[in-house]
C-alpha cells in the first residue's frame, strides 16, 4: 500500500465512475424530486455508455488486482460489456413505460445503476468476499426494483418473494463460503484452486455445493426456479425486462468463473450437478410453459428453459462449451430485448396488458408489432435461418463434441415442446380474430431497440463468425 497512487485504481475505473455517477444522480434526484426522472434515466444511460468507453480503454492484464480481490481479463471484459449493454437496453425500454404506468420515481434508474455496479464487481471478483459484496449489491438493488410499484399488491408480493428467497440463497452462499474457507484456509479463488487441486476435502465439497445452489437460485435453474414466474409476473414490465436481460447473464458469468477457476478440481462433482440442473431446467421450462396464459409468466418459463440450454454449454466445458454459452447468452439477450420491447407496447386504454389472448389478431391491427414478434418467436424456438438457430447450434455442437448425447437429444426434444408455446403466440397474432387496437404511441428509443433486435435476429446468418470468434477469444483466459 506504500506506493499508493491513483493509477492503482485503474482497473476499476468503470465501476468507480458508475458508483460516483449514481451518487451524483441521487443528489440531483433528491434536490429536484420525481420530476427529474426522465433526466436521471438519460443520465444513467449516459453513465453506462461512459463506463463502456472506460472499459474499452482499459488495459487487460489477466492478473489479479487490488490485493487479489479482483481480476481483469478478456472473459470478464466480454461479460461486463454484455451486462452494461443489457442495462442500457433495459433503461431505454423503460423510460416511456415508467411514465405510462405512473412509476415516476427517480430512484428507478439509480437502482439500475447500482445493480450494474454490483454485477460488474461480481463478474470480476477473484475472492469470495468481493464476490459476495458484488452479488449482494446487485441483489438488494433488484429487490427494491421489483417492489418499485409500492401501491400495487402484486409488485409488492413479487418483491417480497424475491427478497425472502434471495435472502435464503445469500445465507446458503455465505455458509458455503465459510465451509470452503474453513477447509481450504482462504477465500481467494487462486488459493482455493491450488489447495483443492492437491487435496480434496469433503467439507470443501459440501461448501461448494451450497455455493452452487445459491447461484442456481440466481440463474433460476430448476429446482431453484420457484420465484421466477411470480416475480416476472408481479414486477412492473420494465423491471421484468431487466430481470430477463441482465442478472442471469452476470450470474452465469460468475458460475463459469467459479467452476473453471477455484473449483476446477471438483469438475467430477460439479459435472453431475450441472448436468442435472440443465436437464431439469429444460424439462420444466418447456412443459410448465405450455399452459401459461400470461405472457410474462411464459417468458419466465422460457428463460428457465434457456438457462437450461446455456448450462449444457457449461457441462460440455472446455473452450468450445464456454464460448458457446457466451454466444448463446448474447443472442438470447438480443432477442429477449426485442420481445420485451413489444410486450411493453401491449397497452389499451392506459392499461398494460399481459395476457397472450390480448395479442389476438395483432397482425391485422399492428403488423409492425406482430411481424417482429413472430420473427423473434420463431428465432427463440430455434428455427433457421434466424439467429436463435445458431445459438442452439453452437450449444449442441459443444455438447456433441463432449459426448453428451443424452443431454443433447433430450434438450433438442424439449425445444420441440417449447416451439409449441412460442408458436401459440404467433397463432394468436396471425390466425385469430382482431381485437381493439393497442395504443400507438411508441417511444423512439423503444422502436430502435425492437428494430435492432429484429435486424440482428434476421441478419445474423450472413455473418455469424465474428461473435463466435470473439467469444472464443474471451474464454481463452479461463483455461
Amino acid at each position: 500500500m506504500e506506493n499508493f497512487s491513483l493509477s492503482y485504481l485503474n482497473p476499476i475505473w468503470p465501476e468507480l465512475f458508475l458508483a460516483v455517477a449514481g451518487m451524483v444522480l441521487l443528489v440531483v434526484g433528491v434536490l429536484r424530486g420525481n420530476s427529474s426522472t426522465r433526466f436521471i434515466c438519460v443520465g444513467a444511460m449516459a453513465a453506462f455508455v461512459g463506463a463502456l468507453f472506460l472499459m474499452a480503454g482499459q488495459e487487460i492484464t489477466n492478473e489479479p488486482i487490488l490485493n487479489e480481490m479482483f481480476i481483469q481479463n478478456n472473459f470478464t471484459f466480454f461479460m461486463k460489456m454484455l451486462v452494461v449493454g443489457g442495462l442500457i437496453t433495459s433503461l431505454a425500454l423503460s423510460v416511456q413505460y415508467l411514465y405510462q404506468d405512473n412509476i415516476i420515481k427517480f430512484e428507478y434508474p439509480i437502482l439500475v445503476l447500482f445493480s450494474g455496479v454490483g454485477m460488474m464487481l461480481m463478474i470480476s471478483a477473484n475472492d469470495m468476499l468481493s464476490l459476495y459484496m458484488g452479488l449482494e449489491l446487485q441483489s438488494l438493488a433488484l429487490y427494491v426494483l421489483a417492489t418499485i410499484k409500492r401501491d400495487h399488491a402484486k409488485s409488492a408480493e413479487s418483491g417480497m418473494k424475491y427478497f425472502v428467497l434471495g435472502a435464503i440463497s445469500s445465507g446458503m452462499l455465505l455458509f458455503g463460503i465459510s465451509l470452503v474457507y474453513g477447509f481450504t484456509g482462504s477465500t481467494n479463488f487462486d488459493v482455493i484452486g491450488t489447495t483443492l487441486a492437491t487435496e480434496l476435502s469433503l467439507g470443501a465439497v459440501i461448501g461448494f455445493v451450497f455455493i452452487l445452489s445459491a447461484l442456481a437460485f440466481k440463474i433460476s435453474a430448476v429446482p431453484f426456479h420457484m420465484w421466477t414466474p411470480d416475480v416476472y409476473e408481479g414486477a412492473p414490465t420494465s423491471v421484468t425486462a431487466l430481470f430477463a436481460l441482465v442478472p442471469k447473464v452476470a450470474a452465469i458469468a460468475l458460475i463459469i468463473r467459479l467452476l473453471f477457476v477455484p473449483f476446477a478440481a471438483l469438475s467430477d462433482q460439479w459435472f453431475q450437478i450441472m448436468w442435472l440442473l440443465a436437464f431439469l431446467s429444460m424439462a420444466v421450462g418447456a412443459f410448465a410453459a405450455l399452459r401459461q396464459d400470461n405472457i410474462k409468466r411464459l417468458m419466465a418459463y422460457s428463460s428457465i428453459s434457456n438457462v437450461g440450454f446455456a448450462l449444457i454449454g457449461i457441462v460440455a466445458g472446455g473452450e468450445t462449451g464456454v464460448s458457446a454459452v457466451l454466444v448463446y447468452l448474447t443472442l438470447y439477450m438480443i432477442m429477449t430485448a426485442g420481445v420485451f420491447g413489444i410486450i411493453m407496447c401491449m397497452r389499451r386504454d392506459g392499461v398494460g396488458l399481459e395476457n397472450i389472448s390480448d395479442l389476438s389478431g395483432l397482425s391485422k391491427n399492428a403488423p409492425w408489432l406482430a411481424y417482429p414478434l413472430a420473427i423473434l418467436m420463431f428465432s427463440i424456438s430455434g428455427i433457421p435461418p434466424l439467429a436463435g438457430f445458431f445459438s442452439k447450434f453452437v450449444i449442441f455442437q459443444a455438447a456433441i463434441e463432449s459426448g453428451l448425447y443424452t443431454l443433447a437429444v433430450f434438450g433438442i426434444l424439449t425445444s420441440v415442446v417449447a416451439a409449441y408455446y412460442y408458436l401459440r403466440i404467433i397463432k394468436v397474432m396471425f390466425f385469430d380474430e382482431a381485437l381493439d387496437k393497442f395504443e400507438s404511441s411508441i417511444e423512439f428509443s423503444r422502436k430502435i431497440i425492437i428494430v435492432l433486435s429484429v435486424f440482428v435476429t434476421v441478419a445474423f446468418i450472413f455473418n455469424p463468425s465474428p461473435l463466435i470468434e470473439i467469444s472464443k477469444l474471451a474464454v481463452q483466459d479461463l483455461f
Binding site: 438457430f389 455442437q397 456433441i400 443433447a408 420441440v416 408458436l423 396471425f430 390466425f431 455469424p464 463468425s465
Partner: protein, 515 residues
C-alpha cells in the same frame, strides 16, 4: 464453364421479389393486384432462369455442376457451397416450375392478405430451391428447416376450418424429426471435421456410428416423405391448406425427404442402409397397401389424394432402398411424376372447391356434362396417378417395382397389389365426381375451366404425357449421378471387411437394447 452464380441467383431472386412487394403502397385492392403481379413475374422469371440450368447441364457428368463456394461460417469452417447434379437438377426445376402455377392458381381464390400470401410463397421458394442446391450439410439444414416458417403461416392463415390444428401438427411433427437430424448432423460434422456434403460422401464412418446417424436422419426424412406410420400429419395439412399450399406441399416439400435419403443416407451410411433397407422396404409395402385402402373409403377429395400421395411415396422409398439402378431411377422419376400429377390433382380439386366450397365427393357428380374440359384434364391426371402406360406415373412405378423385384420378390409382389388398389380408388373417385347422375343442381350449374385454371393445368398435363412418352430426356440426365451413387455405395460396402461388421452387429445387439 459459367461466370455468374446461377444457383444463388435462382435461390435468392424470390427474396428480391419480396422486397418489391414490401415497397408496394396504396389502396388495398391496388396493393393486392401489384403483389400478385410482382410475385408472378418474379417466379416466371425465375423459372426461365432455371431453364438455363437445364440447357447448360452436362448430361455426361455425374459431378456437381454450377458449383459455388464462399466463406460463410468461418469460425467453424462451414462454407456456403451450392451445386446441382443429376439427382437434384430436376427437383430445382420442379420447384421453379410449380411456384408460378401456385401463384396463378391463387389469383382469384385468395382475397385476404394477398401481400403476405405472396411474400410467404416467395420465401418458401427460396428455401425450397436452396434445399436442393445446398452442398453443405448445415446450409442444407437451414433451408430444409426454414421451409417450416412460411408453410406454417400459409396453412394457418389461409387454411380451412381446422387450420390451426393442422398447422401445429405439421410444424411440430416435422420439427421433431428435423431436430434429431440436427444432432446427427453435428455428430457427423465433428466426426468428419467438415460439413461439406461431397467430402462427407467420401468419409467412411464406423458401423455403430452409421446406424445411429442413419436412424436420426431417417426420423427426419421419413416424417417429411411421409412414410407410414409417421404420415398422419399429411392428410390434415393437405385438407386444411389452401389449394396452392397443397400443391406446393405435395409437389415439392414431400420430395425433400426422398432427396435427403439420396443425398445423405445412401452415400454416407451405406452399411447402415444395407442393414435397414429390408425393414424400410417392408414399411413401404405397408404404406402402399394400407394407405391405398384408407384412400378407398375417403369421402373428402383432398384427403383421398393426400392418402394416395403417401402410397405413391411408398413406391419411392421402395425404389430407393432397393439400391439398384432401376429402383433409384424409378424412385426419382416417381417423385418428379408425383410432384406434377398430385400438384395438378390438387389444382383440380381446387377448381371445383372454388365453385362449390366443398370437397365432399358425394356433392358432385356428372360433371362431364357441364365441364367437359375439366373432365378431360382430370382424366389424364387420374390415369397418370393410376400409372397407365404413356403417362409419367407408369415409368416411375414400373422402375421402382423392377428394382424391388431384384432384391426381394415378396416385397415386389405385395407392392404391386398397390397398383391395383391405386387404380381402384382413383377410378372410383373419377366415376363419382365426373360420371353418374347430376343429382345436385348447383354442381350441375358449375362453369367449365376458366382461362387461369386452364393455363395452370395444361402445362402440367403436357408434362405428364411428355414424361410418360419420352422419359429418356429426364433419365439421361439422372442416370450418371445414380450410377455414381451406386458404384460408390457398392465399393464402400466391399471395403469394409465382413468380420468387423459382425462384431459391430453384436455390439449394437447388446448395447442397443440396454440403452
Amino acid at each position: 464453364m459459367i461466370d455468374f452464380p446461377i444457383l444463388s441467383l435462382l435461390t435468392f431472386l424470390p427474396l428480391v421479389g419480396v422486397l418489391f412487394i414490401l415497397l408496394v403502397r396504396g389502396k388495398e385492392e391496388r396493393v393486392a393486384l401489384n403483389a400478385r403481379r410482382v410475385a408472378l413475374y418474379t417466379t416466371i422469371f425465375n423459372f426461365i432462369l432455371s431453364l438455363y440450368l437445364l440447357f447448360n447441364f452436362d448430361d455426361k457428368s455425374a459431378e456437381f455442376q454450377f458449383v459455388e463456394k464462399a466463406e460463410w461460417f468461418g469460425a467453424l469452417g462451414i462454407q456456403y457451397h451450392m451445386g446441382v447434379d443429376g439427382i437434384s437438377l430436376f427437383f430445382v426445376l420442379l420447384a421453379t416450375f410449380l411456384t408460378p402455377i401456385c401463384i396463378l392458381s391463387s389469383w382469384n381464390s385468395i382475397k385476404s392478405r394477398v401481400k403476405e400470401y405472396m411474400i410467404a410463397f416467395l420465401i418458401l421458394q427460396t428455401f425450397m430451391i436452396g434445399t436442393f442446391c445446398a452442398l453443405d450439410a448445415v446450409l442444407f439444414y437451414v433451408f430444409f428447416e426454414g421451409v417450416l416458417i412460411p408453410m406454417f403461416i400459409i396453412i394457418g392463415v389461409w387454411g380451412g376450418s381446422r387450420r390451426v390444428y393442422s398447422a401445429f401438427k405439421f410444424f411440430l411433427y416435422t420439427l421433431f424429426g428435423s431436430v434429431l437430424m440436427l444432432i446427427a448432423l453435428l455428430a457427423l460434422y465433428l466426426e468428419a471435421g467438415t460439413s461439406d456434403i461431397p467430402t462427407l460422401m467420401d468419409t467412411a464412418l464406423e458401423y455403430n456410428m452409421q446406424i445411429w446417424l442413419f436412424l436420426a436422419f431417417f426420423a427426419s426424412f421419413a416424417v417429411k416423405m411421409p412414410m407410414w406410420p409417421v404420415h398422419t400429419w399429411l392428410p390434415d395439412a393437405h385438407v386444411e391448406a389452401p389449394t396452392a399450399g397443397s400443391v406446393i406441399l405435395a409437389g415439392v416439400l414431400l420430395k425433400m425427404g426422398g432427396y435427403g435419403f439420396l443425398r445423405f443416407s445412401l452415400p454416407m451410411f451405406p452399411e447402415a442402409t444395407e442393414y435397414f433397407a429390408p425393414m424400410i422396404m417392408w414399411l413401404s409395402v405397408i404404406a402402399i397397401i394400407y394407405t391405398s385402402l384408407v384412400a378407398l373409403v375417403q369421402e373428402d377429395m383432398k384427403k383421398l389424394i393426400a392418402y394416395s400421395s403417401v402410397a405413391h411415396m411408398g413406391f419411392v422409398t421402395l425404389g430407393i432402398f432397393s439400391v439398384t439402378t432401376q429402383g433409384i431411377e424409378g424412385g426419382i422419376f416417381q417423385m418428379l411424376s408425383h410432384g406434377i400429377i398430385s400438384a395438378a390433382l390438387f389444382l383440380c380439386v381446387g377448381v371445383v372447391y372454388d365453385r362449390l366450397h366443398t370437397r365432399e365427393i358425394s356433392r358432385y357428380g356428372g360433371l362431364v356434362k357441364n365441364m367437359p374440359k375439366y373432365a378431360t384434364v382430370f382424366m389424364i391426371l387420374m390415369l397418370g396417378s393410376v400409372g397407365l402406360p404413356g403417362t409419367s406415373g407408369f415409368i416411375g412405378e414400373f422402375l421402382a417395382l423392377m428394382g424391388a423385384f431384384q432384391v426381394n420378390t415378396y416385397v415386389a409382389v405385395f407392392a404391386t397389389t398397390g397398383v391395383v388398389f391405386g387404380a381402384a380408388y382413383m377410378l372410383v373417385l373419377y366415376r363419382r365426381v365426373i360420371f353418374g347422375a347430376q343429382h345436385n343442381k348447383d354442381a350441375a350449374a358449375m362453369k367449365d375451366l376458366n382461362k387461369i385454371e386452364y393455363t395452370c393445368l395444361v402445362p402440367l398435363v403436357l408434362i405428364v404425357l411428355w414424361m410418360g412418352i419420352a422419359p429418356s430426356y429426364v433419365m439421361d440426365r439422372v442416370a450418371p449421378s445414380v450410377e455414381k451413387l451406386i458404384t460408390k455405395y457398392e465399393s464402400r460396402l466391399k471395403q469394409s471387411p465382413a468380420e468387423s461388421i459382425d462384431i459391430a452387429t453384436n455390439q449394437i445387439g447388446t448395447t442397443g437394447v440396454s440403452e
